[in-house]
């Protein structure tokens, strides 16, 4: 995927840890994506439903409305039901959450502390490419 084609892609990053949010935004912005961001589920939901991003990077543990809450509300929306979501989190081994996520159409869980920025970028590109070829 070229930098040029990345320019018309919108990403939404929802992450409450500010330092992590900043670097993710920096990273994807410098790749040419249009990056929207939010630090809690509610804010993220409003943005998602308004802007219809091509891919949503979602954290699970957040105040007010957490990742799961966001996901459920998102899927209740017509557009949201088909929206692409990638979960970036640091909790794992929580089988309940994994199943819940799958029930809400998310099959990808990336553990932040194990993935480098480069690898995440690659994964995002792949997912968006997959979307294009549909």
């Amino acid at each position: 995927m070229t930098k040029a084609s990345q320019q018309n892609k919108t990403l939404l990053v929802i992450e409450d840890e500010e330092l992590l949010l900043n670097i993710l935004v920096d990273e994807f912005a410098s790749e040419g994506f249009r990056v929207l961001h939010a630090s809690d589920g509610q804010e993220g939901l409003d943005l998602a439903l308004r802007e219809h991003p091509d891919l949503i990077l979602l954290d699970i543990l957040m105040p007010h409305m957490d990742g799961m809450g966001f996901l459920q509300k998102l899927r209740a929306d017509e557009w949201g039901n088909g929206a692409a979501v990638l979960i970036l989190t640091n909790i794992e081994g929580d089988v309940k959450k994994t199943i819940e996520a799958m029930e809400n159409g998310v099959f990808e869980y990336l553990v932040k502390s194990r993935w480098s920025l480069e690898e995440i970028k690659e994964r995002v590109r792949e997912k968006l490419k997959g979307q294009d070829s549909k």
């Binding site: 409450d16 840890e17 330092l19 993710l24 990273e27 105040p63 640091n90 502390s113």
Partner: protein, 497 residues
Amino acid sequence: MNIFKPSFPQFRIKKEKFPYFIQWLWNLSVPTKLHIATALIVVSSLLGVGLLWLGMASLSGLRAYVAGEAMWSKAEKSAVNHLSRYAFSFNENDYALFQEAMKVPLGDRKARLELQKEDPDLEIVRQGFLEGGNHPNDIDNIIFVFRNYRWMSFVEDAIDAWEEGDKRIERIQALGEQMHKIITQSGNTNNLQVRLAVTQRIVPLVEEVHLLDDQFTILEERFASTLTNGGRGLTRLLFQVLIGIFVFFSIAAVILILFINQTVSSVDRVKGEMISFASHQLRTPLTITNWYAEKLYREADLPLEKRSRYLRAIYYANKRMIHLVEALLNSSRSERGILVQSLSRIDPIKAMNNVVEDLDFHVTHKKLTVIKKYDSQMTTMMSDPEALKMVLHNILSNAVRYTPAGGTITVGVRQDGSHVLFHISDTGVGISKDEHDKVFNKRYRAAKVKELGKKGSGLGLYIARSAVQQLGGNIWFESEENKGTTFYVTLPQNGLI
């Protein structure tokens, strides 16, 4: 949001439902419980062995009495026999045999009389029983039973029978001597005339002897049966007591072992949770370091402002990890009561300043104002610098965390009698009244705080209080919801009292 939620097993025994004693037992430390359980087992074993020994000694003693009684009856019958013969043979030999036989009951009598004294001479007692024909190895048992078992009715009964027997033995002895006197003083016993006269005088004596002999039979039987029945009863009693002791101590030991098991498994569980919690808490700062460092080394042409921002983020993320590790270590140390390691002379104002500086990043980031109110006359104090730093840091980091942007934090150090008083105030979210007494609990996170999603271990104030207590000081706070909180810490100026 509260990240760390300890998992509870499906079935949880409510401690409070049990009586106070059980609760106290539950709360003892594992080594203590183990010691008590061991002691119970040892004591019950010793008691068991002791009772067994006692039982065997008693039964042995009773058996010795019965054997002694057999000797006694045999001798008594033999004496009566010889005396009867003597009464008609006038043969000195018969009389000698009579006296020989009498030694047995008389020996036992001598022993009994001595034993009934206030302070018996055991040598005389032993001598008496030996004369009574008792086996030397049985004598100690016989004495033991006599001296220690009189309170048992059956033993008392048997000894009564013995006393009755002795009375009659004394009478027999007297009768024998009387006969002997008559016969030896009668003169020529070959003379028929003389013989008749003597016999006339002796016959009533012999009749009495036979009368007594009949009585002896009854007494001897009474003595033997009382002891045998009593012996059976004693065995049964001892057996029951033994079983009782065994059951009691076994139950006590089993209960303690169950408690230990529960404690150990809950400790294991908590340890597991601690590790899982620790690794979880570490992940965020690790990710920060990871990604920022990645960016830094991958992009050589990053603008300077970004570079320095990224490096700062890494620095503070690292600090966060250091503090977490410290907190975990201290949590473990505070459990073991070894938070305070050593005392040295320190400057309390400098200590406070250091702690404030440590949190500079967050203070600047949230645009908080820090006011310092230090007593200009403040001198040095004796304390553990690491422990003090940790206490102040934990309180101050809370203040910073829970004060919204633009707020104010005031720190102060001043003399307070023989103590040094530190205070840290903020204009933060405060602590609601109903949570006031939970503040120093392990992993206390205020409800409001959870909602705001602030990151924190919940261990800070628990450890702080533990450290302050070990330093011989005091910690308390004042707070009003949405207005702010002030924490106070006093420490003895001259170290631990």
